[in-house]
Structure formats: structure tokens, C-alpha cells
């Protein structure tokens, strides 16, 4: 899941929560006479508001527009959930006058996964190129129960990452490696 989507969801849920708490609290204060007993006995839609709705031609159309804006906010929030930061291809173009060069990321990730899975103590590996304000490579490595974590880490950092950066022609490509130790025991015997 995209971290940007997660952060946006937290912010949006906080806003909705605050609106409900604030609105509900103010309403309860009015209900229990906090703004005076006259206010508590008032209708929710007071006569002044009903007169405004009856006398102003723009009232109901404006309310319809507000309603549509609410629907638009909902649609935008819904579409946000489908956003992904997965990068399918990498743009290697230096100068567009020479043509456009792109690299299919899946080919690199397949090759890299194969290289990592050949290391002792590794059960499986999967990689993904993401857009996190620039390309970033995420590699998840499942280790056996008895895997030498320090040694595997060293091999990943000194061999696999340089190969990856060379293949993508990006010596400074950020890489995040997630190790998942103790996932499987079947290869402990091999």
C-alpha cells in the first residue's frame, strides 16, 4: 500500500472525526441548554432559515452545489485508494533528441530475484520499483530459520545492490531491503 495514500487516509479520517466530534458536541451543548433554554427548545431549522430558503431563489441551487461538492470530495477520496506508487518502467532517456529509452522494470526485478534466491539461506525474493518522489527499489527477502542474517545482508549490500544499480544505470538509486527471517524451514536441511 502506498504510504502517501496511508498518510492521506489518516488526515482525512482525522478531519471527519473532528467535524463529527465538534458538531456533535456543540449540538449536545445546545440540546442541554448550554446556550440558553430558548435555544434548546428551538427547532433545528429555525424559522429564519426557513424564511431564507423560501424567499431566496439561490438557496436550494446553492445547497445542490454544496451537495455535489461533497460528492466530489468523496469521489476524490475513493480514487485515491486506487493510487499505487508502483513503477512499471524506468525512463533512461538522457536527451530526447537521441530518442526515448525506457526499461521494463519487471525484467530487472525477475533477474534480481533469481540472483538473490541463489544465496544460501534465502527462501524467496521479490523486488519492485516504486515512485517515492523519484525511483526507489524495494526488495523483500524471505530467509530460512537458520539463515546467517549478517552474511546475507553483506552479500545483498556488496553484490546485489551494485548489480542492480549497474543494470538500471543509476549508481545512487535508493534501495530498501526488507529481511523476513524465520519464514520457512525446508531449506535449512539443504
Amino acid at each position: 500500500m502506498s504510504s502517501r495514500v496511508n498518510a492521506a487516509n489518516r488526515a482525512d479520517l482525522t478531519v471527519v472525526g473532528l467535524i463529527l466530534v465538534a458538531g456533535g458536541a456543540v449540538g449536545l451543548v445546545a440540546s442541554f441548554g448550554g446556550f440558553g433554554s430558548d435555544t434548546a427548545a428551538d427547532e433545528i431549522f429555525p424559522e429564519s432559515l426557513r424564511d431564507l430558503a423560501a424567499d431566496s431563489w439561490w438557496f436550494w441551487p446553492a445547497l445542490a452545489v454544496v451537495s455535489l461538492l461533497v460528492a466530489l470530495v468523496g469521489l476524490k477520496w475513493l480514487l485515491l485508494q486506487m493510487r499505487t506508487d508502483h513503477l512499471g518502467e524506468l525512463d533512461l532517456t538522457d536527451d530526447q533528441r537521441d530518442g526515448i529509452t525506457t526499461l521494463d522494470a519487471s525484467a530487472i526485478t525477475r533477474a534480481l530475484s533469481g540472483e538473490v534466491e541463489g544465496l544460501p539461506g534465502v527462501v524467496s525474493a521479490s523486488g519492485r520499483l516504486r515512485d517515492r518522489g523519484g525511483p526507489r527499489f524495494d526488495l523483500v527477502v524471505d530467509l530460512t530459520r537458520r539463515a546467517d542474517v549478517a552474511e546475507i545482508r553483506s552479500q545483498l549490500e556488496t553484490q546485489v545492490v551494485p548489480h542492480l544499480r549497474q543494470a538500471l544505470d543509476d549508481p545512487g538509486l535508493p534501495v530498501v531491503i526488507q529481511l523476513r527471517p524465520g519464514q520457512n524451514t525446508s531449506r535449512d536441511l539443504s
Binding site: 479520517l13 482525522t14 472525526g17 445542490a64 542474517v149 549490500e157 529481511l179 527471517p181
Partner: protein
């Protein structure tokens, strides 16, 4: 927690989208003098006649506050981390971050505890600052066993590079064979 927030976000987004569309449609139908589509006019008339002090309105307001508080808790609560960042190696390459998954750490620590003599089962849970291991043994001296498990867990955390990140707590429950 992320998944719960995601599901809630989808539901609330749908409520806003469908509610907003329904409101706009009903208003336009009313302006055109047509019959309402889904919201009966009697329902809105009923709502207009309520005062702030009626029981139904108070109940709605209380529910709104409770739902709002629930959303705030869900939005602001920090769940357990999915992974822990390991310390960089002095000779490590630049721009490389290595993490260990929380579940993987829990599996590894539970396995280490299970390998101790006399332990019949073990579970580990890892929070932001602490790794807790619960082990069940058939010996009568769980204190002796605990020291051994604590050492093994600390060694495993050292292998993972997390011994300075996570404090350890080991509990051993004795279930004697009769």
C-alpha cells in the same frame, strides 16, 4: 491498522459520494416539482419539526460524537511497526536501508525459545520498543529456563542488529507432566 483505515476510508468516501449525489438529485427534483426519488418528503418534514432537546436528536448527536471519537482514535493511533530499520554498516553502500519485518522477528524469536530444552511451545510479540516471549515448559524450574531463553533471544536480536532497539521480556509458564 493500515488495512482498517483503508476499509474505513473507502466506506466513508462512498457515503460522501452517494450521499452528496443523492442530496443534489433530490434537491433538483424538488425544484422541478417532481416526486422525490429515494428520500420521502415526510421524512424531511419530520426532521424540520424536531428541536434540539428531543430525545432522538440527542441520540443522533451522541452517536456522532462517539463515531467521531472512534475515527480520531483509529486515525491517530500508532499501530505496531511493520518493520524495524537495522543500523547501517560502517562499510555499507549509500542510500541502502535494511529492515527486518516485525512478523519475521517474531517468528525468529519464538523459534529460538522453542529450541530451548524443556520448552513445549513459545510465542513472541514485538512492539515498538520491546520483544516479549511467552514460553511454556514442562520443567519445574521456569526461572532457570527463563535465563537461558533470555540469552538466546538476545543473541538472535544481536544477529539481527536489533539488540539496542528492542528490550526483551521473557515469561515462562510451567505445565508439569503428571
Amino acid at each position: 491498522m493500515t488495512l482498517v483505515r483503508r476499509v474505513l476510508s473507502v466506506l466513508l468516501a462512498l457515503v460522501l459520494l452517494l450521499g452528496g449525489l443523492l442530496g443534489a438529485i433530490e434537491i433538483v427534483l424538488a425544484l422541478l416539482g417532481r416526486d422525490p426519488w429515494l428520500l420521502p418528503r415526510e421524512r424531511t418534514t419530520w426532521f424540520r419539526e424536531q428541536t434540539w432537546e428531543t430525545a432522538t436528536i440527542r441520540a443522533i448527536l451522541i452517536v456522532a460524537v462517539l463515531v467521531g471519537l472512534g475515527l480520531l482514535v483509529l486515525a491517530l493511533k500508532r499501530g505496531r511497526p511493520a518493520a524495524f530499520t537495522l543500523a547501517s554498516r560502517a562499510d555499507g553502500p549509500v542510500a541502502v536501508t535494511v529492515t527486518a519485518s516485525r512478523r519475521g522477528i517474531e517468528h525468529a524469536l519464538a523459534q529460538v525459545a522453542r529450541e530451548a530444552d524443556g520448552v513445549t511451545s513459545a510465542q513472541a510479540t514485538v512492539s515498538r520498543r520491546r520483544a516479549t516471549v511467552h514460553a511454556t515448559s514442562r520443567t519445574r524450574a521456569p526461572d532457570d529456563l527463563r535465563a537461558g531463553i533470555e540469552t538466546a533471544v538476545a543473541d538472535r536480536l544481536t544477529d539481527l542488529g536489533l539488540v539496542d532497539t528492542l528490550a526483551t521480556k521473557v515469561r515462562v509458564t510451567s505445565r508439569e507432566k503428571r
